[in-house]
């Protein structure tokens, strides 16, 4: 896949994942570019489009983790991250989701937003299905707690 096809096919999806991981537009764009660069220079042969997609997500998540680990990422004001088309209640959830700690947020995003089943999430995050399930369960609870505290109390 060339750069153009790559960006048009996976750009939005990867940007979404990176933005929700890094909480900063500029860094997310940067991460997307780096992931695509890795793809173009280092990607293995893929069995299927889904394999390709999972590889991209894995690399993106790893890249974001590295950025968070190795750089001082300053999160953008949450309101600036809101998709303009979102109704207020969705923005509230979006904000709450952003506050969920990273390992759990990843799993929530992959499951609820990108629609991945637990088994595939496990492959992406390099953990067992059980661990993914644990993270999803804990992540959901954390999300609910944050949401309740922020918007319902």
């Amino acid at each position: 896949m060339n750069a153009k096809d790559l960006v048009h096919t996976y750009g939005d999806m990867l940007y979404r994942i990176c933005l929700m991981s890094l909480r900063n537009h500029a860094d997310a764009e940067d991460a997307v570019q780096e992931v695509f660069l890795k793809y173009l220079t280092r990607a293995p042969d893929f069995d299927s489009p889904s394999h390709e997609k999972a590889w991209l997500i894995t690399v993106a998540l790893n890249h974001c983790r590295n950025m968070l680990r190795n750089q001082r990422i300053i999160p953008t004001d949450p309101e600036l991250l809101h998709p303009p088309e979102n109704p207020p209640e969705q923005n509230q959830i979006f904000d709450a989701l952003m506050q969920v700690p990273e390992p759990f947020r990843e799993v929530l995003i992959l499951h609820y937003i990108e629609g991945y089943p637990l088994k595939e999430i496990a492959g992406i995050i390099g953990k067992s299905t059980s661990a993914a399930k644990m993270r999803l369960s804990k992540g959901k609870r954390l999300l609910e707690e944050i949401y309740r505290k922020e918007y319902l109390s």
Partner: protein, 892 residues
């Protein structure tokens, strides 16, 4: 919360079209390895963006400061793997000085962008957005003429405007491949300054020079820029974040020129330590990190010294180390391994598979505030890699080293306190095999400790039994576990469920199933003596097994209301009335600690006797029953004091909650009592306890290893526990209190200990043992992190506050470390001079003038006022040579 809203909350998050186009363009350029000239270089790209790109990319900081703008062009790709060689140019300070006149002569013909005057001081408020303008040719000619009048031969060294200015404007342009930012400033000292900054995009290295000029110059140039007839609005609005951080970004870029020296010094110091056989390191291998687990390991002494020798050659062997070290980091690729030094600094080994470049990144502390980069050759890298000889693997796939270390330390402490007379592990393993392979004949029931993970249908604290069929399934599962790898005393992780057992021989014991969310690992811990306080033996469970257990337990046969029916074991015994407690002064080990306070306490024998008396003198009565006030007692969490007792024939724990509830934990069960008087009396017992272990936990901030310090408070002391730290559930304390963050922020003084010398045991988290020394009481109370350690004679041991040294070996720095004694101050003490110049006073000057009784702490003005009147001292640069300002204490 609506799940559909969760699913669709990010549907509209899309990569902006212009970003897509830019990324496509950049990717095409990068993969074709074209020259930078082929990167989008259209006039629409203002040069300022490129400057900001270089700044933001090189320091990998404050990227939000760069907003989205630094991504709007191909400049970012200059810093991407494989492309760092595209643009290679640099400029030294001297070059910049020499170039300046020609550069300004050419200004009229350059593409120039400007931010007209803006102010950030008291005279106005920073606008939300800033418009950059381009200038007309005529305008630029006039500016060029003005700037050429500046004498660029005589800069003002090290002038730092920081916030001492009221108005300035900025020019951005490119000249001879270098990007310049010229700031013309009206400062609060009444003078005006021109600050010339440059950055070389290929290396992201920049310099700054400051020149003083007349106010008239500022007015003239500013008038030019203010005149709308001269400029055309580019309609480029930079967001306020960028605007506000511009100084910070530049300051970090330009203000860290000492970093190279600092790290060079640090490496030499580390080398010295190794020579003294005092160094220990800890590695993490992240090779192939996209898929492989992280592995932590250390090496034996000889192997490490060999490794260090190679590293030493690769780094220290360089003829000009300081200039090879860079404050930027541009290589992509992966961290292949990380080397942690015992002072918590660390070195990352980055390897970029695309370009083959290997960089070592030196971090001076966790949190990544500062780092320094040095490139080594592939060969050096391979040699280093080959020299790595893992000696001890532990906790593979365990990403949280701090937890590992802390767990090990805590385990050791717990072993010290409770261990020593426990059975041999092998005996326990045999016993475990016997017990767990005959579970069909055992009698047992369960209690859910945490319902979130696996037991969605259970409530926390729910006791239940399971049907026989399930019991047999569970027995089968336990039969197949391998008990040969059991280890002693697990201390981490969250408890999911407890299984109370009475085996075929009527032996009582209990099993906890735990899940550690930090590592995603599950454990089974077994308390073979049925006592929650005492040794446990643990076994790691794979998560599938955990889920199988959960599946088996998901259908309870009968639910119990915690107490009466649930206590199928020795009900009469459970409800025996207490006291009497045994003579707790006989306890061989005793430990008390407030759960949310950062210390442990160990009472001495007399205090133990007093405690026995206290416990037995109270009317305990019957424990509370479910459905009564028990439910308010917050047994699991909240502020409390915990006491552990281990006596030859009895072991138990008492938790005292400040709300007046006591939880008496014994034989694997809990009884709850309400007795505020007793709680209050026990709370008082904490004050005169003998030995205090202090744990400073700022884990929530930087995820650093926790430090633990033992303090021997024998002698006169008064330990005051501030209630604020204990407050999560105490209504009197008002709102929820974030202990960890406040502690980390240093906003709360949580304890005061008044003794003259404190035995301090600093935890060496890498070697996992305590190092003993003494702390001065005053210093301890002020700040445990930065004080010195002393030997028993009160002589400094050399640890503690460390200052950087200049080329002459003199120490210099701000002497504002809390508790720093005047005699321990650096040779050059940081001050602000009479003309707002920052610089250094010679300590010897202060001494000679009898002005070294105190040091400039947080209240600089106050300190200055305390000095003898009429003092006039020189303010020097950090080398102690160039006079920058004066420092006088003449008062009107």
């Amino acid at each position: 919360m609506n799940e559909n809203n969760l699913k669709s909350c990010a549907n509209h998050v899309r990569l902006p079209q212009e970003s897509k186009e830019r990324i496509i363009r950049n990717l095409e350029v990068m993969t074709q390895n074209q020259d930078e000239t082929e990167i989008d270089n259209s006039p629409k790209r203002p040069i300022v963006r490129h400057i900001m790109t270089a700044v933001a990319a090189c320091m990998v900081i404050a990227v939000s400061a760069g907003g989205i703008y630094y991504h709007l062009h191909g400049g970012r790709s200059s810093f991407s793997p494989g492309l760092s060689a595209i643009v290679q140019s640099s400029v030294s300070i001297e070059d910049m000085q020499k170039t300046a006149p020609d550069m300004f002569a050419a200004l009229a013909d350059l593409q120039l962008y400007a931010i007209p005057a803006y102010d950030r001081g008291e005279t106005g408020i920073c606008p939300e957005t800033v418009s950059y303008i381009t200038l007309t040719k005529e305008n630029q000619e006039q500016l060029a003429e003005l700037y050429q009048t500046i004498d660029f031969e005589n800069p003002i060294k090290d002038y730092n405007f920081s916030s001492n200015w009221e108005d300035r404007f900025l020019l951005f342009f490119q000249y001879a491949d270098i990007y310049y930012n010229v700031q013309t400033t009206k400062a609060t000292d009444g003078n005006c300054y021109i600050q010339l900054m440059c950055v070389s995009p290929g290396e992201s290295r920049g310099y700054t020079r400051t020149y003083q000029t007349e106010a008239d110059f500022y007015d003239k140039t500013n008038a030019l820029l203010q005149n709308p007839a001269f400029g055309s609005d580019m309609n480029i609005e930079f967001d306020k974040i960028l605007y506000d951080n511009l100084d910070q970004v530049l300051e970090i870029l330009f203000g860290e020129q000492n970093l190279a020296t600092r790290f060079a010094t640090a490496i030499v110091e580390a080398d010295t330590k190794i020579g003294a056989d005092a160094m220990d390191v800890y590695f993490i291998s992240r090779e192939n990190q996209d898929s492989a687990p992280v592995q932590y390991f250390n090496m034996n002494r000889d192997d490490f010294l060999n490794f260090w020798r190679i590293l030493n050659q690769a780094v220290l062997g360089r003829p000009d180390l300081a200039s090879d070290l860079k404050t930027d980091f541009m290589t992509g690729g992966d961290v292949e391994f990380i080397m942690y030094l015992e002072d918590r600094s660390y070195i990352e080994f980055w390897h970029d598979a695309v370009s083959g470049q290997v960089d070592l990144l030196f971090h001076d502390m966790p949190g990544f505030q500062d780092m320094l980069c040095i490139q080594i050759s592939e060969e050096e890298y391979q040699n280093l890699k080959n020299a790595l000889v893992p000696e001890e693997y532990f906790n593979t796939e365990y990403e949280n080293m701090n937890t590992v270390l802390y767990g090990r330390i805590e385990m050791e402490l717990m072993n010290q306190m409770f261990g020593g007379n426990a059975p041999d592990v092998n005996e326990i393993i045999q016993k475990a095999e016997q017990t767990f392979t005959n579970l069909e004949e055992a009698e047992y029931y369960f209690c859910v400790q945490d319902s979130d993970y696996l037991f969605e249908n259970h409530h926390k604290g729910q006791y239940f039994s399971i049907p026989e069929e399930k019991q047999n399934q569970l027995a089968e599962l336990f039969k197949n576990l391998d008990y040969s790898d059991m280890k002693k005393n697990y201390t981490d992780g969250g408890n999911i469920i407890i299984m109370y057992l009475k085996d075929a021989n009527q032996q009582k014991s209990f099993v906890s199933i735990l899940f550690d969310e930090n590592s995603d690992r599950a454990y089974l811990t077994w308390h073979p003596d049925g006592k929650s306080v005492g040794d446990n033996y643990y076994l790691e469970l794979d998560l599938d097994t955990l889920n199988q257990i959960a599946e088996i337990l998901s259908e309870p046969e009968q639910l119990f209301n915690f107490s009466t029916e649930g206590r199928i074991f020795d009900v009469d015994d459970i409800f025996r009335e207490i006291p009497p407690f045994g003579d707790t002064s006989r306890a061989t080990e005793r430990l008390m600690f407030p759960a949310y306070a950062p210390y442990y306490l160990i009472p001495d024998a007399d205090q133990q006797a007093q405690l026995t008396e206290l416990l037995n003198s109270q009317h305990w009565g019957e424990p509370l029953r479910p459905g009564t006030d028990y439910s308010k007692s917050q047994t699991g969490d909240g502020e409390c004091f915990m006491m552990f007792f281990r006596m030859p024939d009895e072991a138990f724990e008492i938790r005292c909650q400040l709300s007046g509830y006591l939880i008496y934990i014994h034989d694997g069960s809990q009884d709850v009592y309400y007795n505020p008087e007793l709680v209050s009396a026990i709370q008082d017992m904490f004050i005169p306890a003998k030995t205090v272990y202090v744990i400073n936990n700022d884990d929530s901030f930087y995820n650093e290893p926790e430090e633990k310090i033992e303090i021997d408070t024998s002698g006169n002391y008064d330990l005051t526990v501030y209630e604020e730290i204990l407050n999560q559930f105490n209504q009197e304390h008002g709102t929820e209190y974030q202990f960890a963050s406040k502690e980390a922020a240093g906003s709360e003084e949580v304890y005061q200990i008044q003794v003259s010398w404190i035995l301090a045991m600093t935890e060496d988290e890498f070697r996992n043992h305590l190092e003993e020394a003494y702390q001065n009481d005053l210093e301890y109370r002020q700040n445990v992190y930065e004080v010195k350690l002393y030997d028993t004679e009160g002589n400094p041991t050399g640890a503690g506050a460390v200052f950087f040294r200049n080329s002459k070996g003199q120490s210099y720095g701000a002497a504002n470390t809390e508790g720093l004694r005047p005699e321990d101050a650096p040779d050059l003490i940081f001050v602000i001079g009479d003309h707002q110049q920052s610089g250094y006073l010679l300590k010897s000057d202060l001494e000679a003038n009898q002005a070294l009784q105190s040091l400039p702490g947080k209240e600089f003005a106050e300190w200055k006022a305390s000095l003898p009147e009429g003092l006039v001292l020189n303010v020097y640069d950090q080398e102690g040579e160039t006079i920058l300002d004066t420092f006088s204490t003449t008062r009107e």
